[in-house]
């Protein structure tokens, strides 16, 4: 919708949480993102009570780690997506040791952006990326959604759509190239 708050708005809310433990700002973030994270997890097949629990855990992570949020690297939506995705893999897919490994990767990224003189490319305009997703050819759009919103592996997608594994992968590659192109396009 046109009234959707932008990245600047969310980084201001995060700054208030980080600097002052501002609960009003925290609840603005909660009101917007909690239901979206909940829907995302429910789509992945997470039972309702567990999804509620994981959403609370994701927001608590934000409360504790607000100082780690760097708006120049990723939007708040992307940051929360990562947190929720990691909780899903740890709690639901039960891939052991996933959370510490992701923490390690995060720390490497932080160490690196601190070392670099120039700020990394700022997070992409969400609207431009959203439009690029909407413009994907139907098959590519379907595969991208099966990946992200149903958490299906290449082999599962291949079996479900009766499509060769190689075609699944090449379609995903083409989709990723298009979406990356939209992120890099001059604004």
């Amino acid at each position: 919708s046109n009234a959707a708050p932008d990245a600047l708005y969310w980084s201001a809310q995060m700054a208030a949480v980080s600097a002052r433990r501002d609960r009003a700002s925290f609840m603005r973030i909660y009101d917007h993102f909690a239901p979206r994270l909940q829907r995302y997890l429910r789509n992945l097949g997470v039972p309702e009570s567990m999804a509620d629990e994981l959403v609370q855990e994701a927001l608590l992570t934000l409360w504790r780690k607000a100082a780690m949020f760097d708006p120049a690297r990723a939007s708040l939506g992307t940051w929360l997506y990562r947190v929720a995705r990691n909780l899903y893999i740890d709690h639901v897919r039960r891939q052991p040791h996933w959370l510490p490994i992701q923490d390690g990767l995060d720390r490497l990224d932080h160490a690196e952006s601190a070392r670099l003189d120039s700020q990394p490319e700022s997070s992409v305009d969400q609207d431009i990326l959203k439009q690029a997703i909407d413009r994907l050819p139907p098959v590519q759009a379907k595969l991208v959604r099966m990946c992200y919103l149903e958490s299906k592996s290449h082999s599962e997608i291949s079996a479900e759509l009766d499509m060769p594994l190689g075609s699944v992968k090449s379609s995903l590659r083409r989709a990723f190239a298009k979406l990356q192109g939209s992120m890099r396009a001059p604004r």
């Binding site: 897919r93 720390r107 990394p120 990326l129 997703i133 958490s151 992968k169 190239a177």
Partner: protein
């Protein structure tokens, strides 16, 4: 030194989506630890996930849920302590395995206990991994592996030594991200054994009678 061979776009996308089989995800994590290029590409993939997550149509949270959330904040007053600095010295230690492999194989390359599975080939299988097979392979220098193709996905990362095949030269940190399209015959470099971590989500198919003889030895 940064790697020359990287994760496939389709692999990165699935990693970001939390949809990569567990064994492949371990090898992908090991490469990501050593590859800033792929970490930047992963952030792109995560942005796609972020947009898709936010596109969901939703209602406002209930008053009950809001109250429960605020109550949790009361018992979580303390800020997370600052993250410890990354141990850069340990990262550069050639004996140190990537962190993602520690739970499965320990920390040290030298401390590994190999089992011979074929002439010139030793292996350690990861136990209790769901979603595919995960193994370390140690292949004698100057060995020619049997020609084979891949029925599913196979992701291999070089930890020490090197090999060459039709796709190029693969040294430490490089990943070979292969599927059914590829039919290849790696030849390990002379000097030191080639040690790699490999994950598959389906058995390999070897061609020819020699390969059929070797296949049970590899146990793929």
């Amino acid at each position: 030194m940064s790697p020359n061979h990287h994760l496939d776009d389709a692999t990165l996308l699935s990693y970001s989506a939390g949809a990569l089989p567990a064994a492949l995800a371990v090898v992908a994590s090991a490469h990501l630890e050593r590859c800033t290029t792929c970490r930047a590409r992963l952030l792109d993939a995560d942005q796609i996930g972020g947009v898709l997550m936010q596109q969901q149509r939703v209602d406002l949270p209930s008053e009950e849920a809001r109250v429960a959330m605020l109550a949790r904040l009361d018992v979580e007053p303390a800020l997370e302590p600052p993250a410890p600095p990354v141990d850069v010295v340990a990262e550069a230690d050639p004996d140190r395995l990537p962190s993602a492999l520690h739970p499965w194989f320990g920390h040290s390359l030298r401390a590994l206990r190999w089992r011979r599975v074929a002439p010139g080939v030793q292996r350690i299988l990861a136990r209790d991994i769901s979603g595919g097979d995960l193994m370390l392979l140690r292949i004698a220098p100057g060995s020619k592996l049997p020609l084979h193709s891949h029925r599913g996905n196979e992701l291999t990362m070089i930890l020490d030594g090197a090999y060459d095949d039709m796709l190029g030269h693969f040294g430490p940190g490089d990943v070979a991200d292969l599927d059914g399209e590829t039919n290849h015959q790696p030849v390990t470099s002379p000097g030191v054994p080639c040690i790699c971590v490999a994950a598959t989500d389906a058995p390999l198919k070897f061609s020819g009678w020699v390969a059929r003889t070797l296949q049970p030895l590899f146990g793929f």
